[in-house]
Amino acid sequence: MTDYETIIGLEVHVELKTKSKIFCPSTTEFGGDPNTHVCPVCLGLPGVLPVLNKKVLEYAIRAALALNCEIAEYSKFDRKNYYYPDLPKNYQISQYDLPLARNGYLNIEVNGQTKRIGITRIHMEEDAGKLIHQGTIATSPYSLVDYNRTGVPLIEIVSEPDMRSPEEARAYLEKLKAIIQYTGVSDCKMEEGSLRCDANVSVRPRGSREFGTKTEIKNMNSFKALQRALAYEVERQIAVLQEGGRIVQETRTWDENKGITLPMRSKEEAHDYRYFPEPDLVPLVIDRQWVEEIRATLPELPDERRNRYIKHYDLPAYDATVLTATKEMADYFEECVALYPNAKAVSNWMMGDLSRLLNAHNMDITRCKVSPRQLTDMLKLMDRGTISGKIAKTVFEEMFATGKDPEQIVQEKGLVQITDEGAIAAVVEEVLAGNAKVVEDYLKGKDRAFGFLVGQVMKATRGKANPELVNRLLKEKLHSS
């Protein structure tokens, strides 16, 4: 059976979070009653003209620099012509042959190795509105249209076909999201549509130098959907080829419920967008000095931050990668270590219990009720011996659920650790007396029996006994008897 190689390239749309739209003063705020964030310009009324929002250009340059692109000295806008009711002018102002930026890259980690994924180009364009249907588009007796999103600035980031698996594609998109978020030009919220991704996928026999016929996959609304859709599509293409069939060049849509991709339109049905230079806007001549000024204000980006964490906090590479995956996570980490210098302990809690609870509640860290101060206060309680590591897990769950301070939880629930030797020794005596058979086993050399005895002491103290004291006292008593 032929071994196939997967080729993936991504086209990513990112909404820039400027205050006003790309070509008019209307607000870009998400939500709002339908058709309230509009003006004659973004509604495309007769006679209106676009004027480029300079902030959009600045943000786009900022993102492009963070992705290691070359910024064009001369760029222009073009019209992309197609009819759709959510597009008020029935053309989209975009960039065609002279995009803002080219030749960038970002690095992803693949099996512990760094892999560079090329970025072909980045261009600016305006977003379209939204159609709203009763039920589905097929069954709804009407379409309603909301133009609030019309004219929100977008950048489209087109990658090289450098990814070789759905996992790499996901890693690329996650890294892209992290970098853009770090630059502060977008929220990159997939669920709100401020980060959208289409994929070009093909397969070829391993060793072949020519690309196979590609399909374009749309409608993938999460990282998970991206990975699933690509995995499905790769399998589908290989199956077609193995049955002696041919891949049809077409656009396919991901059906999240069925877990399959479905044909949307063929190459023959593809739009002829009739691009031509936008005569209502003047070409952009981009000042080099301005570009350098923007470059100078770029923040520390994920890779730099990761390396700093390894060097400065002595964290393992894995920890550093996970902690810097989002700006919010890394910021949280740094707030913690400013209050509590044991970076590895902070990292363990963030990557362990905190991440587990966030995932379980499908939350990101910005909505977490536990503040960095509270997390570090809890770590300090552990260091002081007020609570044990085991109790801390219980305390943390309560903190996560309620946002209360750890001291308060410990007080309210009576979770203060028992460090009184006499009190623990008494419990130890009781446990030993009540488990003569186990003691015997232990003395015959069964090490596991010791663990059982520790568990019994902890149980009797409802987990509050200091584990080190329990260990020491148990051993002393066993060996003296």
Partner: protein, 485 residues
Amino acid sequence: MELYYLTAHELHDLLVKKEISAEEICRAVFDRIDAVEDKIKAYVTLTRDRAFARAREIDRKIAAGEEVPPLAGIPVAIKDNMCTRGVRTTCSSKILYNFVPPYNATVVEKLEAAGTVMVGKTNMDEFAMGSSTENSGFFVTANPWDLERVPGGSSGGSAAAVAAGEAITALGSDTGGSIRQPAAFCGVVGLKPTYGAVSRYGLVAFASSLDQIGPFTRDVTDCALMLNAICGHDPLDSTSAPRDIPDFTSCLRDDVKGLKIGVPREYMGEGIDPAVKEIIGQAIELLASLGAEIEETTLPHSRYALPTYYLIAPAEASSNLARYDGVRYGYRAEDARDVVDMFMKTRSQGFGPEVKRRIMLGTYALSAGYYDAYYLKALKVRTLIKQDFDRAFEKFDVLLAPTAPSPAFKRGEKTGDPLQMYMSDICTLAVNLAGIPGISIPAGFVDGLPVGLQLIGRPFGEGTLLRVAYTFEQHTDYHRRRPSL
């Protein structure tokens, strides 16, 4: 002379001397409209009540001793492709028959600031596509000099209104000659400014890289006053030029001594009516006798102006007019099965035949596989045409040519043959492609029909055009003649 036939500067003198009021001027113009509009049909919409309210407002200012600007109280007609807040703006198209803009075009704001009184919105070829105003989706406008003839186009309503005394001045738009050619046909002054001199914000686009708004007036002095009012950078129009504007009245000097005027031979050759040539010849002699140095010159790529124009303008139009789909405003076809059907029915029923022809031409020129051969080639030829002018202006201050190859033609004479109709803009198209200014002034009559003289200037050389035009006017009386209606 009747008030409605005076110029704006004459009326201003009477106003400030308090011999007449703005309300009286307004009444004179509306009485004239009541008397002749049935024959001329210059207006799509009249704004009578607003006009009188506005005129009385100006009168109150004058009575209060305020100094009013030179165009205060002057009745102005606006071509119906410029947006007027609260007043419907149709482009003489069924597809916009009910469109009431929520905003003013920048020129409309500027004219309001200048104190003018809007009389109404004038008829035009649908979406400014045409040369006779016969392509209006509503009705045909007559030439005040001969009601059987067309007023020219596409700004025929504005030209006819000024010529017939139904407005004192007017605004038109010129994409390939749409101000200058009707000005010539109707015996008035019409100026197309340099591309970027006047804001296009609120001008319903036909061909964005060619469209420019300009004035119709009865003489060159009024033309300078109107330019003063409408020129200037507009932050709402990225293509408007960020430059200081001079006081154009300072260019009104009776002096052409030493000015170098070139006469491109391509504009005086085949296809130009001999009677028109004779009138242009007389104008050349007059200007030469006044000290201008006049020489023949050449614009070798002129012959390509028409095909170049008819690729670029329709290409842009095909995209500009895509928004008229019945979704948001304007006409919407009934009984559509689905959204695509609604688009198609709305556009099939809403647009007239010439607009459809140009949308098809433009869509074709931009299509995959044809773009390089048509649209891109046209852009390159456009550059060559512009370079012809650049070269000519190294030597000459002004170029001189007929505005149109013939005087006004008869209604229906060219409607059956689009190419014949397109040829009537043969003398004006290249000026739009080059983005430079051009003016048409009354230069004589053939069988009682006015003939226009076109002067073409360097980019932002409107001042020189006004100077030559003003000098010509001081030594002729064609601009003082009025049609008898």
